[in-house]
Symmetry: D3
Subunit: 336 residues, 6 copies
């Protein structure tokens, strides 16, 4: 099993029940999550040794974050306590044609206001196989744009492979800012989650002008590969959104000049879409750590993501055996 460090912000999500609007609700369900934290939980579920580094306030909410991560076996030695507040957001899940709606309240969080590398980087990256970070972190502040690179370089130096999820959030920065920063990061990256829009907007890949859906995905991966030959694996999902309650999901992966695609999962109904992408990334990293063949990697990762959509909360709750048995069984029968 591998040793992994992920670093990023973790927030408190306030969700209303299905069919209840934020403006009318009398109660919120509380979930703790964030891209890198969710990836950490997935990998811990699969038996890897995972640490999540972040910063949370030194109060009961920070303590709740620590308990949440510990519950799933994630090491919290590098979860710093301090700073002004825990970032949060409010989610009103979509139903059928109606899209989800989100109110972010993350400005000024303990993590966002970090200005220097407060973690003991030597200890953090020592013996670590993969360091995973996402494009949300450099989007938080100018300081974080610098700091992200500092962290990545330190990890690289310590011998980690760098896993980067582009994860563009338009509410945090402009495409221009994002592109500039991302292009300084990618030369250090080994595994990269980036899709067709990321290729166009941030990696300066020209739009595909053919008419074959099959070739389109390969095209973008190939072009991104050309620009960043240092990246050994690219991966992404193709999602067909029938409605907020029903999606089709296909995972795709590119490595060594080959394109791999999972079977298509019809996810209907969707219980909770948040964290679906993180479960996918977690599945890919798991496969790569285990040196599984690439078709198996993408099958596993996509199945893991499909499963995540069927449970409440940000984080995947399935073990390696459960994901594999789901892949083998592939239906909705009672097992008894």
């Amino acid at each position: 099993m591998g040793k992994v460090v992920t670093l990023g912000e973790i927030m408190l999500r306030f969700s209303t029940d299905s069919g209840i609007r934020i403006a009318q609700t009398e109660a919120f369900t509380a979930h703790y999550g964030g891209g890198e934290a969710n990836v950490a939980v997935s990998l811990a579920n699969y038996g890897h040794q995972v640490a999540f580094a972040s910063k949370v306030p030194d109060n009961a909410l920070g303590e709740a974050v620590r308990k949440h991560l510990n519950r799933y076996g994630v090491d919290t030695k590098h979860l710093l306590k301090g700073g002004p507040r825990l970032g949060s957001y409010y989610l009103e899940a979509g139903v059928g044609e109606r899209a989800a709606s989100v109110i972010y309240d993350r400005a000024g969080s303990s993590f966002a206001v970090v200005e220097t590398a407060e973690w003991n980087l030597e200890e953090l990256f020592s013996g670590c196989d993969i360091f995973h970070i996402s494009g949300i972190t450099p989007a938080l502040s100018a300081a974080w744009r610098d700091l992200t690179l500092v962290l990545i370089k330190a990890a690289k130096q310590a011998g980690c492979l760098i896993s980067f999820d582009v994860n563009y959030r338009g509410k945090l920065w402009s495409r221009e800012e994002a592109g500039k920063t991302i292009r300084t990061i990618l030369p250090y990256v080994d595994y990269c989650s980036a899709g067709k829009l990321d290729a166009q907007h941030f990696l300066e890949v020209t739009a595909y002008d053919g008419d074959s859906e099959e070739e389109e995905a390969s095209y973008y991966y190939r072009e991104m590969q050309k620009k960043y030959p240092n990246i050994s694996v690219f991966y992404s999902t193709k999602r067909k959104v029938h409605s907020a309650s029903a999606n089709e999901l296909i995972g795709t992966l590119w490595s060594d000049g080959h394109y791999y695609e999972s079977q298509c999962h019809l996810i209907d109904p969707i219980i909770d879409r948040v964290g679906g992408g993180d479960a996918f990334a977690g599945g890919v990293l798991h496969g790569l750590l285990n040196k599984a063949d690439h078709q198996k990697v993408i099958n596993f990762a996509t199945a893991a993501s499909a499963l995540k959509h069927t449970v409440h909360g940000d984080c995947n709750q399935f073990s390696q055996e459960e994901v594999e048995s789901f892949l083998a069984l592939g239906s909705g029968k009672i097992i008894r």
Copy 2:
């Protein structure tokens, strides 16, 4: 923005959770609503100045009604307090093939036993653009058959346009009684919600004998228009009931000899169907008050109705901006 008065009964709905029968439940969710009250809420959401006139008992339930309406910005100056009780009904929502089932307990309510126009009509209708009332009200008693006409005439005299929703309820009166009464009302009406069955049963329109589904809707509107040239706008929905959990909905509108139809909304899953028609009527009246073009009116109204089906409770909870953004976006994606 316009000034609107709606008048009718408002009831306490007791709902069981999905998958729980009335005969086994240990708890009921409480919602307050009624056709005209729901229209009032929709219009208040869109920024109009709306008053709802009714009568509720002078106890905590009457107070709950007042609070419910005030919450959505509906004026309750004309909500009288007194009389024996608040009408109620029990709803066991349908699931899939299984239809919803309803037990009414509305007889003898404070509103139903009203015998004379207890409201200050002059004040009620002063400066009002539209007076909206439905066919449920005259169905409540012989006194209400007379009173409904009294109210409509007073509103007309005060310069209001009259909006009437046929809304036939077979448990309250026979088709014959209904038809007789409705035909005394329609000559005063400006905007009328009436569908194909209403045309046949109450407006004495001969059944369509062609085989074009497209022409059928136009046919009924044209025939109704012939009989009541005073009515400037007719509107209705075409609903394809796949199951209690999935419906298709198309809005239709007739004005100036033209037929307008919205796009089709697939509502799957349905969270709560009650009030779907009222949200549609509210959307139509909003468009007419704003003098929007008729295609936009019907698009907006049908979208508003589709949205209503995705939230619990009788009343639409969406602002004009939200309905319009839903129309523009038209899918179930997370916005972040």
Copy 3:
């Protein structure tokens, strides 16, 4: 109306809410049920005089079982109190592609450790039309394999028709053990619920090698009939599992050399699948008790089963009138 006795184990089911895993839940919903108990409730709902014989511990859980059965009008005179514990199981319902998952904790229950016929058999079967028992009971212990036969013979002698539901559970015994026991039981059986897999695994019927789906069902029934001419009615369902949330269900019945099939029910969404088969068996026995024609029997039973899938809990909550009105209406409209 008929008089029926069913006998078997009744357990406490712990269910998590949809989208919540057993390993993360903070609460369980409690339902009491078991194959024969559920059939008893269905038949009591339809107005038959039904007793359920079993054994439960002499504590509040045993008392809860008694209250549960009494609530639905099932006679509990033959529900013995004593023994070590109430069997239980944990159910995490499936969602979409994800299958349900079950943890059984039934070993050593008060019923399972019964060694001799503790019930007053003379009183139990006196005047009874049908004695219903399932293949789960002999699977519980060696003693129960003998005891099941003792009970069946006593019932037969008392003039009861014997109804047997094969209901194979692989977690309790092997196919070999099951087959051996079942084949000692079938010569006493009058009504038998057994499908295509039961025919192959336990009744030693050769697999169908044709390619007509229509003929396949008939084939198995015909072959089973050949082996057990004493059985006057065979019945079973054909279930197409689209996902854990959506199934298609067709009921089939064989009698007097004729094959009957119900219409197909699309069950979407499934609220609770547990007890769906028992509702079907209950519907068949109801039709047979009422000497309805066989097409009506299978239509009613399949409708009853489809309805069961739309409510929480093991037992069907619909009266004969409700099932028939569902059959007549066949859609998901609000009735008001």
Copy 4:
């Protein structure tokens, strides 16, 4: 064990959670209960054969009433179905200094509009030891004033002892009306629940003018006894209301010229006070049926009432063994 018939109205109670007002609640807990129904449940819990006669609407609410009674082993053969509606009331439980508040919505119920003895009286009272009825029933209508007497006489003739609980409700009738009717009933009564205020207001007993609290209770019983020598047992409670959350309760009983008093129970906190008096009456009748000595009767009945205050819902949920073990143990320790 004895055979008992009770007859009266049963209603649907809507309760809010503690600390939530009716005018603000979004949900109600549903309980079914009524004085005579609650007594029936208590006696069935203690192993007596009890039938409850009433009338409820022929809908899911009537069915819920039947299921509720059956659950506790009460015979519902004489629970008629039909009429307009189920009476209901809304309860906002008191907290500390704040009293409970109740909204009745019971007018026009299926039971209240009964005009003639619709039950088969011969069958109803055949073999019955005690017929229990309360002063709420004659308060419902003029017809019920007559009918109550008809029922009591029929029961008397059939050999039943008559148990009557004065249970005056000021919202239903005046003291004058009540007194007149009650005085026509009492000559037929054997067991009577009546307290100090009942003695003064309805039995025309002069107010006690001594200053000994001990003698006061005896005084009223003695005077009532003088007026109605046919009544063999009088009983009542003395309740000291510290607050809506904490009460002291003492049971008192008079028979054969002797006064009996239970120990004092401090009930703190009170979970649900509704039905506390019915549990007391049920306990007294149980003791009288079992010919227990009078001190034991009053101890048991008061303990049963105290226990009732510790559970939600109208009806006592404790067996004879549980009440006795509570009496013996007398504290709040964990038993393990």
Copy 5:
């Protein structure tokens, strides 16, 4: 009835259920409230015309605030929309000996970052009898210290009486800062809520050195009065904290050189203490607006505060009639 304006911050409170800690909870109950908003709701409940001025973000949470206030009949014309976020706090209610614990997350809220008087002051104060504001507002920022005085002066000029609640919060500013600001405000104040500690810490009153509890309260009022002869009414509560679940509460008031004290309320159990002081202030202002005699004012206000402690949420839910009937009845009996 009077016309009142209150101005201040309104926040979203997240509460856990009783006995559940913030660090372990999976859900929060949502309440909206703030000192001045709660006073506004109380006064609206009593029939006064009340506007609440504040600023909330232009999103669903801001909309929820508006709906909350409208529900209770508070005018929201002066509730501005805009700015970064809604302030919030997390409350873990105390139980018995264990104190409540609070995490504030109010920094940077839309209200706190206001720098200039964004409201139309002329319109805001026109015709208004009382302007109520608390010491929390100037504690929010340096800008707010100035702005508070600006608002008070404008209100004064427009003819309003100024009501000021000292309401010191040590987490927001030091005693020195608070004292300095408060002493610039008090010369404009007419009604002032200030207790013994306020007198010492902010009004520079020397500590009482006598030993009569009766005289102590008078002493502080007299001394404060000496320093601010412009203040016509001082009021405060004496609270004896037995535990987080049980308090004794006495209201005190000083006017025209006379000291008034309410009876003592034992509040046990406390359902929700938040807003208890605001309900008291609301009750005092109501009495003053109605020119009730001072003993009645303090009795009413203290009863209103005691009642508030028995319901969930920040705001008092009782009408004038309910408070008065509570005063008259003074116990916890069921009224029926």
Copy 6:
């Protein structure tokens, strides 16, 4: 900070809501706990390095146990997976005079059927300061009587201090059996939780015949000390049970011939009493590990136990700082 190992059974507790009986409930709250597990959580909360050794089934319930312990920072390396089932029990909490009632369903659990020391004892006890075990474990089986001694000796040999909680459970073994076993254990024990009844029943101490409550506790400790001079610390609580909802609690400790007693805590209301004793033991061990003076040890431990009674669930949720601040503050005020 110290290093501690605790070993014992951990069970799934099913609790009903307050005021709901087991025989009527439709839902159970799930908590995981057991004496030694709860002590482990307390010590982990205080910052010690704690491992809990046990055995749970290899299914989702075993996984839930692991997650529960990890959440609180307890090391689960020695939590074995396997065996038949997880022990469970049902708890109906007491209310006021009514005692709690418990149904155990723990027979045949994965832990109870352990026959040999399946843990790697060398690794388990390496570097460990204290090994804590209770008298429940040897009560589970004859094998466990031997095994308990084996474990204690191995721990002793590895240099651990032995902490033993007598914790007699009459449902598991007789006083005779218990006494015999406990007396073989005590010669190895360093810290012992044993009270007055334990002294009499198992340590063969003659009953105190004086009349000073103060001297009684000392007497028993002194006599126990005489018999087991190897035990350096004895501790216990004196609990005055006013009712199931209100207790008084005093902690007592004996060491070096001195008797220490904490202040008295009035716990009212009690939220959840389960685990109160374990929180006390955890507090004592914490103090002993930190070599705090004995008065501080007993003050801290009793405060920790009092706090535990105010939260749901078996395990204490308070940090060292929170317990100390509770001791310092000592009341129920809001801190803000």
